[in-house]
């Protein structure tokens, strides 16, 4: 694939889209939404063969596996100008934790640092790097936005998604109480300590429901699956979507956990 050139002559940045393993396997539409947003922002999107950033192994204390996956990740993506993921968790894993995996390996030090410098979470990349101020999308509904922990605290993702959502036609944002409090997902935590995780997501679901919003948005599919699964188990009529889907004008797709046939259009 050759690089496109923008009308005013600047080369389109070549972006490696790291779709994340959850999006890859559970909800490919988030990957397409991310690709559309990146293309609309004048990027050339590439999806090299990929598996996982290594976070599950990292947080399970398996450093050797993490190190091996990090090496594959870097090798697969380091030729791009930028690496973008529709997840603060995975981007945060790479950007803030990869360097420590290679401590004591001088051959890697510079390479890892250069790589991490070009890794971004999707919405912050669009706003902070590409200077996107709005999107051409419409969504007829009231949404509430959950700040996923890693994106918020490792990467400072908070204003960017809200700024983009403000430009979506017909969309109203109703903030929930404690939007920046963990949803209780925590990767393997939610299956290792299911009762504790459930107590946390129960509070989150109540805060979501209390807004009266019809749609829950967030920037991480793991958190969304957790919250959507709880809302559905409680029989609450709140749709859950990845923020990229709404920003890309794909908000009418069946939401997370909704059947594919019916409900394709609300």
């Amino acid at each position: 694939m050759t690089a496109h050139t923008s009308p005013h002559g600047a080369r389109h940045p070549r972006v490696g889209l790291f779709c994340t393993c959850l999006v890859d396997t559970i909800r490919p539409s988030v990957g397409f939404a991310a690709a559309k947003l990146l293309e609309d922002a004048g990027c050339e999107v590439n999806v090299p063969p990929q598996t996982c950033c290594g976070q599950p192994a990292f947080n399970s204390g398996d450093r050797a596996t993490t190190r091996a996956l990090a090496e594959e990740m870097i090798t697969a993506f380091e030729t791009f100008d930028y690496v973008v993921a529709p997840s603060g968790s995975c981007a945060g894993m790479i950007k803030t934790h990869y360097p420590e995996l290679f401590t004591g390996e001088p051959d890697w030090a510079g390479r890892v640092e250069r790589f991490c410098a070009k890794v971004f979470e999707l919405t912050s990349f669009l706003v902070d790097v590409r200077g996107v101020t709005g999107v051409a999308a419409a969504y007829d509904g009231t949404v509430t936005y959950h700040d996923s922990c890693s994106g918020l605290r490792e990467l400072g993702v908070k204003a960017q998604p809200r700024r983009l959502l403000a430009s979506v036609e017909g969309l109203a944002l109703e903030e929930m109480k404690d939007a920046d409090t963990c949803c209780g997902f925590g990767g393997t935590f939610c299956v290792k300590y299911p009762d504790v995780s459930n107590a946390i997501v129960e509070k989150k679901a109540a805060n979501i429901a209390a807004t009266g919003a019809d749609t829950l948005l967030a920037g991480d599919l793991g958190c969304l699956m957790n919250m959507a699964g709880k809302l559905q188990r409680e029989g609450r009529a709140v749709r859950a979507l990845h923020v990229a889907e709404v920003l890309a004008g794909m908000g009418d797709e069946p939401a997370i956990g909704e059947p594919a046939e019916k409900g394709a259009k609300r």
Binding site: A57, N59, D62, T65, A68, P194, N198, V201, Q232, E258
Partner: protein, 485 residues
């Protein structure tokens, strides 16, 4: 009071805590009570984050020179007429305290709040040798009369409600008129004040903890809001300070830096009510104050922590901000952690003090949401240190077999992309077909931990990577159309 370790039963403890309605009622006030106050206090002081950096740097410098500052502290405390004792472990510390009390013929000791006292199980030990320990911090007093351990490091009785306190007071203060009104917190506080005032005046020895030790002057510092620590250390014949060795700071200026972040992080006060600097016993002209002053400096495994990553834990000033902001602590409270130190700091410290075999649950029971590190005044990287313990656990094969097996299978595929991609495509295709009608699963084999409490979404079908490649192929077939988009 008791130091029975129930940390290995964390899951059961948590389950019980989640079903305990009075506890849940009390816990629901933790976040609202502390989070906003800390944020407001930090907001009002523009230098707050700069002071956190300063505080971290001071402790890092102190820890790197700990032997030398300890020598200086010891020399200055002795020069002021004090005694300094070093204790290798809990038994050592208990023996030192008991010896002093017995030499003075003590029958009652009053106690200011001390986590070290909890760590070494001092109260049980004193009681066993016939010395009555009386906790004087209101929260510590409440849990002492209930025979419980603290559930929070600065608010030890945060798990209780006023009805429980009333019932305990009626049971323990049986000499008071039964018809008295104890329906309000004010009347409960007044009763505790009256009861404990007599204990303060009658005590032979006063034992306090230390928030800091100052090397420059040989001074111990306690920070309280009630004034109980001051009464404890001023009225009796002897004042015994229990401190762990990382409480040291070099100078009065250094401790002033750290004090500016302590109360703000803990309760949102600019400064706690009583910050008391004690140096030696009463001076020849002093009309009041203790006749003897002893500082017991406890190691109990901490000197070994200096040598590795865990050195960072030793910066902790016990403000409690990490647990005040922790979703897991909010859900289960402090007792579920099963030993002395709850919350994120407990999850890092406990395995170091009781061993990773017994303590392994705690560093695992975290979502790594990072809020503890975000608010820690000493900038301790708590999630990183919990991960450190998970690595130790993994290295030593302490991870439960099912988890280790699951992780192994996942890693096998994740490291072999050529296998991973077709395998996930097939698996997700199958799962998608199965879940298509409802869009989600209410139960799934091997995912009971998830589906016990929430639905699992059916995959859309196919993988993104496969679909993307198919779409790119289409695009290449119709380049003109694509370009005109």
């Amino acid at each position: 009071m008791s130091v029975e370790i129930t940390t290995p039963r964390f899951k059961d403890n948590a389950k019980k805590a989640l079903a305990d309605l009075p506890l849940q009622g009390a816990l629901s006030k933790v976040g609202p009570g502390f989070i906003g106050k800390r944020a407001a206090a930090a907001e009002k002081l523009p230098e707050f984050d700069g002071l956190r950096d300063s505080a971290r740097d001071i402790k890092n410098h102190t820890l790197a020179h700990l032997d030398l500052y300890l020598e200086r502290f010891e020399a200055k405390a002795k020069a002021a007429g004090g005694h300094v004792h070093f204790a290798v472990d809990a038994a050592d510390a208990r023996a030192i305290v008991t010896d002093i009390c017995q030499r003075l013929g003590a029958r009652t000791v009053t106690k200011g709040k001390s986590m070290i006292s909890e760590e070494i199980g001092l109260n049980d030990h004193l009681a066993a040798v016939g010395i009555e320990p009386v906790e004087t911090d209101l929260g510590e007093y409440l849990i002492q009369i209930r025979g419980e351990a603290p559930s929070h490091i600065i608010a030890p009785a945060i798990h209780l409600n006023k009805d429980q306190v009333e019932a305990d007071f009626r049971r323990v203060h049986a000499h008071l008129p039964p018809e008295r009104d104890l329906s309000e917190p004010t009347s409960l506080l007044a009763e505790a004040r009256g009861e404990l005032r007599q204990k303060f005046l009658a005590a032979d020895v006063g034992i306090t903890g230390a928030n800091f030790l100052v090397a420059e002057t040989g001074t111990s510092i306690i920070v309280t809001n009630e004034g109980n620590g001051d009464l404890t250390q001023t009225l009796p014949k002897a004042h015994i300070v229990l401190a762990s060795l990382e409480k040291l700071v070099p100078t009065l200026e250094d401790v002033s830096q750290i004090l500016r972040v302590l109360a703000r992080s803990a309760t949102g006060q600019d400064m706690s009510v009583y910050t008391t600097f004690s140096t030696g016993p009463r001076r020849p002209d002093d009309p009041d104050g203790p006749g003897e002053y002893h500082v017991v400096i406890l190691d109990n495994g901490r000197s070994a922590m200096l040598g590795g990553q865990l050195r960072e834990v030793l910066r902790c000033i016990r403000c409690g901000a990490c647990m005040n902001h922790c979703p897991v602590y909010h859900a289960v409270g402090g007792h579920a952690y099963g030993w002395v130190y709850p919350g994120p700091i407990g999850s890092v410290l406990t395995p170091a003090l009781i061993g990773v075999e017994k303590g392994r649950n705690l560093p695992n029971a975290s979502t790594f949401c990072g809020r503890c590190e975000e608010v820690c005044p000493m900038r301790i990287p708590l999630p990183k240190l919990m991960r450190h313990w998970r690595e130790k656990e993994f290295e030593r094969h302490l991870t439960p077999a099912t988890q280790r097996f699951g992780l192994g299978v996942w890693a096998f595929f994740a490291r072999r992309g050529w296998l991973y991609r077709p395998a996930t495509r097939l698996a997700m295709g199958a799962l998608s077909l199965l879940g298509r009608a409802k869009g989600r699963f209410a139960s799934l084999p091997l995912a009971g931990g998830w589906t016990q409490h929430r639905d699992f979404p059916a995959p859309q079908g196919g993988t993104f990577q496969a679909q993307w490649r198919a779409r790119q192929a289409e695009r290449r077939a119709a380049p003109r159309q694509e370009a005109s988009r």
